[in-house]
Each structure stands twice: as structure tokens, then as C-alpha cells.
């Protein structure tokens, strides 16, 4: 419990420091917020890949649909009373239904087929959105839809307002940061709390067991398909949330949010950052998005470099950048466990002293 609190505190501090650090390395102000928003989807994706062992190449469909639904809620569905929370809720709800249906059809299939199937479904949604010009404006996408202020009970905040101005020297000006960043940071923190609780829970324990040895898990009495479906739906919902936020933040969206590249980018961010770690996907997202923005100004072959680095990581460092950190801490824990030499007394079973390694 204490360890968890300490962890969240550290993350919170990191989130506070992040925009300033980014400014130091020439990231533009909105980048921090964008990274956090996309990071939510990456964390969701990691739940699927790192913990459930499912490689989905179709997360873009949840991301894209999420963004369209949130923007449409505000502009088309309820133009008279646009409500921020409603936009998020509708987006997540619809995406959850999507994920449930698609997941039910796909989770029973072997890794490779699952990956391509999710890609195929994503393509399907890509075309649906593309063709449904009436609703989505097809190729042009949706633009210029300002997000309503965030209702907070007694008051509401326009998230685009800046923080009070305060010159912080090389760290920039406090006013560079908008309330959007604060909001995104809070949402991300909540998502991290949720995912961490999930992975250390009974559910997470079983999920991990299924990933480690599905056959054994089946014959121990777990139903792998339902667990995978649950993971798929949760990951999809998180991705949809991310998309919804992105739409509202950028006041626009386009069919590109549903294409193969977008799906691929989630894969890259997560694998790069660290597939079995909680924060790895965030690190990956931050790193890649930052480099994308900075380097692509310099050279055209950015994407080639990205691809090569990705291949290199998969071959040489499959745990991602944060992988070694996690391996060391896991090894340390295992070592501590084996040091406990006294076996439990034969009659009285010992109460377990903490979560499994």
C-alpha cells in the first residue's frame, strides 16, 4: 500500500515537472498535453500486449471512433447543450460496445490471426468513417469544433485558459501551460491508478498466468477467452477515452486517426518504451512523439530511423527501454523470496505476506 502511494506520488511529481523539462529541450507547449493524451491509449495497449499477451493492430479504430464521437456529440448530437463529460461518456460507451463485439469474434484466435484480424476490423472502420460523409465529412475530417468548458459542479473551466503568468527563466513561462494539461495529467494519473490496481489484482494475476502458460491455465480451470475479452474491452475503452480527449483538445480529427499507421504507432510506442512495465508505454510515447516533432524538421528519413530503431529493440532489447529496470527489480524480489528458508509449519498454513512476484 505504501509502496503504491509512493509510486503515485513520484508519478505526480513527474507530471508536474514534465512540461517544464520539455520546454528545456525545445518541445512546443502543446506537445506535453498531446503526449499525455496519446499516452493513455498506449497504457491501454500495453494492458493488452504486456499483460494479456494479445497483439492488436487495430487500436486505431477505438482511438479514431472515440475522437469522432466526442466531437460529434458536441457539434451534432447536442449542439444546444454541449457537455464535455457527455462527450467523453458517449465516446467511451460506444467504443466499449465495439470492443465487446469485435473481441467476442477475435480473442479465441492465435496471435498472428488475432493481430491481422484486428487490423482488418480497423480497416473496416476506416472505410466506414471515410464513406459516411454525411456524418464524418469523410476525407476532410471534422474541424474547428471548440470544446465546451469542463463542468465541475459549482463552476466550469474553459480548459484552454492558461495558468497565471509567471516567468520561470529557462523553464519557460507558467502561462505556456493551459488547464488542458492539468486535466490530462489528472486523467492520466487516474488511468495509471486504475491499470496498476487491475494488474495487481486477482484478475491481473490470472491474466498473467494465462499469458505465461495458456494451456496450463485452461486445465487449472480458468477460461482464457473471457479474460482476454475483458482485457480487450478495457484496453479498447481506454483507447477510446484517449481518442475522445484528443478530439476535444485539438478541436478536430480526421480519418487518419483510424489508419494503419496510427495502429502501428501504438505498437511502436509501447514496445519501445517497455512492454511489461506500467510506465514504459508513456516513456515510449513521449520519446517518439518528441523526436518526431523535433527530428522531422531536420531530415526526411525520420520514419526510416524509427523503423530501424524499432526492429533493433525487438531483436536486442525486447523488454523495451524500461525493460532492464523491471527485470532487475523482479530478480531482486525473487531473491528476497528465496532467502526465506523456513518452510511453513506442516499444520498451520502461513498467511501470504504480499502479492505474488
Amino acid at each position: 500500500m505504501m509502496r503504491d502511494l509512493r509510486f503515485y506520488l513520484l508519478v505526480a511529481l513527474g507530471l508536474v515537472a514534465f512540461p517544464f523539462a520539455l520546454h528545456l529541450i525545445k518541445g512546443y507547449p502543446g506537445l506535453a498535453t498531446q503526449i499525455l493524451i496519446v499516452g493513455i491509449a498506449a497504457v491501454g495497449f500495453n494492458l493488452l500486449l504486456g499483460y494479456a499477451g494479445l497483439l492488436s493492430y487495430g487500436q486505431a479504430m477505438f482511438y479514431g471512433v472515440g475522437s469522432y464521437v466526442s466531437l460529434l456529440t458536441v457539434s451534432r448530437f447536442f449542439p444546444a447543450h454541449p457537455n464535455f463529460w457527455l462527450a467523453l461518456i458517449l465516446a467511451v460507451a460506444l467504443v466499449t460496445v465495439m470492443a465487446s463485439l469485435i473481441g467476442a469474434l477475435t480473442v479465441r484466435l492465435y496471435g498472428i490471426y488475432f493481430a491481422l484480424l484486428t487490423l482488418a476490423f480497423a480497416q473496416m472502420f476506416f472505410f466506414i468513417v471515410f464513406q459516411w460523409r454525411d456524418l464524418t465529412h469523410g476525407d476532410d475530417g471534422l474541424q474547428g469544433i471548440t470544446a465546451p468548458p469542463l463542468p465541475l459542479g459549482f463552476t466550469s473551466i474553459d480548459l484552454t485558459t492558461a495558468l497565471p503568468a509567471a516567468n520561470l527563466g529557462p523553464l519557460g513561462n507558467l502561462a505556456d501551460i493551459h488547464y488542458w494539461y492539468v486535466f490530462a495529467a489528472i486523467v492520466l494519473l487516474l488511468v495509471l491508478v486504475f491499470v496498476r490496481t487491475l494488474t495487481t489484482s486477482q484478475f491481473g494475476e490470472v491474466l498473467r498466468a494465462i499469458r505465461e502458460n495458456e494451456e496450463r491455465s485452461t486445465f487449472v480451470g480458468f477460461d482464457p477467452a473471457r479474460y482476454k475479452l475483458a482485457a480487450f474491452v478495457i484496453a479498447g475503452a481506454l483507447t477510446g477515452l484517449s481518442g475522445a480527449l484528443k478530439g476535444l483538445y485539438e478541436t478536430s480529427t480526421s480519418v487518419e486517426t483510424l489508419n494503419i499507421e496510427t495502429s502501428g504507432s501504438f505498437v511502436i510506442y509501447t514496445v519501445l518504451g517497455g512492454v511489461h512495465t506500467l510506465l514504459g508505454p508513456l516513456v515510449g510515447t513521449g520519446l517518439v512523439m518528441y523526436l518526431q516533432n523535433v527530428i522531422s524538421g531536420v531530415t526526411d528519413s525520420w520514419r526510416l530511423i524509427e523503423g530501424l530503431v524499432f526492429v533493433a529493440i525487438v531483436i536486442f532489447l525486447p523488454g523495451g527501454l524500461l525493460g532492464p529496470l523491471r527485470d532487475r527489480s523482479a530478480a531482486r524480489r525473487r531473491l528476497a523470496a528465496t532467502v526465506r528458508t523456513a518452510p511453513p509449519s506442516p499444520t498451520a498454513p502461513t498467511a501470504s505476506t504480499g502479492g505474488a512476484p
Partner: protein, 273 residues
């Protein structure tokens, strides 16, 4: 449609699904382009060189990179082939630029044939015929030759084949190269019809896969049947309701998954975990 068949044979038969397949197709297309357009050599030369070049590349890839992944879990394999596909796509883009390019057709094959009830571009007919021949050739090879036997057995049970003395390593490299070469050949041959751009790889990957799912995983005739069905479905939809023509194949795929997950002609115990 014919292309889909060509590629899906490879998928379905060899049970070797990897992202780089699309990349092989694209490489084949570009090699063909270089040969025909820039070197000015006749198309048949392109059709011979392209698959060889692609196969060579595939062998290189297999030996250098993929060999480390044979015993690892499929996820790692998918990831690495995905990465490779990306790298290939980007390299092609850098070399050839991002715009679509077209092949010139050899004079003898351009124009149309009058088939009595309709005229049809000559090249398409020739190409379709070529695909059919290719398909038959591959089928014969796999079904009738000793080597093909090793290939088929190896797909079913790698370890067993090794124990029986078959050289699985060599066989898999050959299968891989064969598949790649086929993809390259189809790529080179199809480009006069579909034109070439760096995205070609991925854009054919998915429809091919859909065809395999519909027709049945692991089934040769399933892939053929699937390809025909999908082709027909698309043509019909384009006439009736053009907007739906892109989506219809995915809807069909979803239906098949729902009703008969192993595909129309697939083997039922193939895919389950």
C-alpha cells in the same frame, strides 16, 4: 482479385503469416519498375528478375534476422516482421519518392481483347491466366514433390520432421523464400494494372488476409474460393452500392467469423489457442 489469390495461396498454404509479405510484394513491384522503366528491358525480364531479387532478400532476412525468432513466441515474430515491413516501406519511399508510379505496358499486351460479350484489357487476362498457372504450379510442387512433402509436414509438426531427419531449417528458409518470391512475382506482374506506390505493401496485406479468413486457414482451395468470392462480392457491390464496396469484404469476414470461424473450407482445429 487475382492478386489476392496469389498472395493468399502463400498465406493459406504455408501458414506463414507475416507482415513482411506485403513488403515483398512491394519490392517485387519496384524491382520490376526499375527494370522495365529505367533500364528499358522487356517485361518478361522484369518478371524473372523481380522474384529472384525478392527471394534473395528474403533469404538474407531469414538467415540474419528471423533465425533468432524461430523458437520465440509468435508475438515477437509478428513484431519483428512488422518492423521490417516498416523499414522496407520507408526505404522504398526514400528511394523512389512517395508518388504513385505506373508501368508502361509492352505493346503486344496492351489494348483489349474482344471476348464476344465484352471487351477486356488484354493484360488483365494474361495476368489472370498467369496467376492460375502459378497457383497450379505451386500446388503441384507442394503436393507432388518430395520436397513439398517435407514442407507440408514441417508446417504440421516441426519437431517431428526434424526427428525424422528432414532438414527443417533449410525447408523453412526455402518456404519463406518461395513465398517471398511469389509475392515479388505477383508484385511485378500486377503493377501494370495497379500502379506502384510505397504503400502497396500494406494495402494488399489486409485484403489478402481477409480472403484467407473467409476461404479458410490452411486450405489451398479455400484460398482460391475465398479469392473468387471476395472478387465477385466486390464487383457486385461496386455496381449496386459503390460506397459500400470497400467495407463489404470486412462485413463478409465478420460474418464468416461468427458462423464458421475456421473459414469456409478451413480445418477446424487449426486456429484455436
Amino acid at each position: 482479385m487475382a492478386i489476392a489469390i496469389g498472395l493468399t495461396i502463400v498465406f493459406g498454404m504455408l501458414r506463414l503469416v507475416n507482415f513482411a509479405h506485403g513488403a515483398f510484394y512491394a519490392i517485387g513491384a519496384y524491382v520490376g519498375l526499375v527494370i522495365v522503366k529505367q533500364l528499358g528491358l522487356p517485361l518478361p525480364v522484369g518478371l524473372i528478375v523481380a522474384p529472384l531479387a525478392v527471394a534473395a532478400f528474403a533469404v538474407l532476412l531469414d538467415r540474419v534476422v528471423l533465425v533468432r525468432f524461430y523458437d520465440k513466441d509468435p508475438t515477437a515474430q509478428i513484431l519483428v516482421t512488422f518492423g521490417i515491413a516498416l523499414v522496407v516501406e520507408e526505404t522504398l519511399r526514400l528511394i523512389f519518392g512517395g508518388t504513385t508510379q505506373t508501368y508502361p505496358l509492352p505493346a503486344a499486351l496492351s489494348g483489349s481483347l474482344n471476348l464476344g460479350f465484352t471487351t477486356y484489357p488484354t493484360y488483365r487476362i494474361v495476368f489472370a491466366a498467369g496467376i492460375v498457372l502459378l497457383v497450379v504450379a505451386v500446388w503441384l510442387f507442394i503436393q507432388r514433390t518430395d520436397f513439398g512433402l517435407v514442407v507440408r509436414a514441417g508446417i504440421r509438426d516441426r519437431t517431428m520432421v526434424q526427428l525424422l531427419g528432414g532438414n527443417v531449417r533449410l525447408a523453412s528458409t526455402v518456404i519463406f523464400a518461395l513465398g517471398a518470391g511469389l509475392a515479388g512475382l505477383v508484385g511485378a506482374g500486377a503493377s501494370p494494372i495497379y500502379s506502384v506506390d510505397p504503400n502497396t505493401g500494406f494495402s494488399f496485406l489486409v485484403p489478402s488476409f481477409v480472403v484467407v479468413v473467409i476461404g479458410g486457414l490452411g486450405s489451398f482451395w479455400g484460398a482460391v474460393l475465398g479469392g473468387l468470392l471476395v472478387g465477385e462480392l466486390q464487383s457486385v457491390t461496386t455496381i449496386v452500392q459503390p460506397a459500400a464496396s470497400d467495407v463489404i469484404i470486412y462485413v463478409a469476414m465478420a460474418l464468416v467469423l461468427l458462423v464458421r470461424p475456421s473459414g469456409l473450407l478451413g480445418e477446424s482445429e487449426v486456429i484455436r489457442g
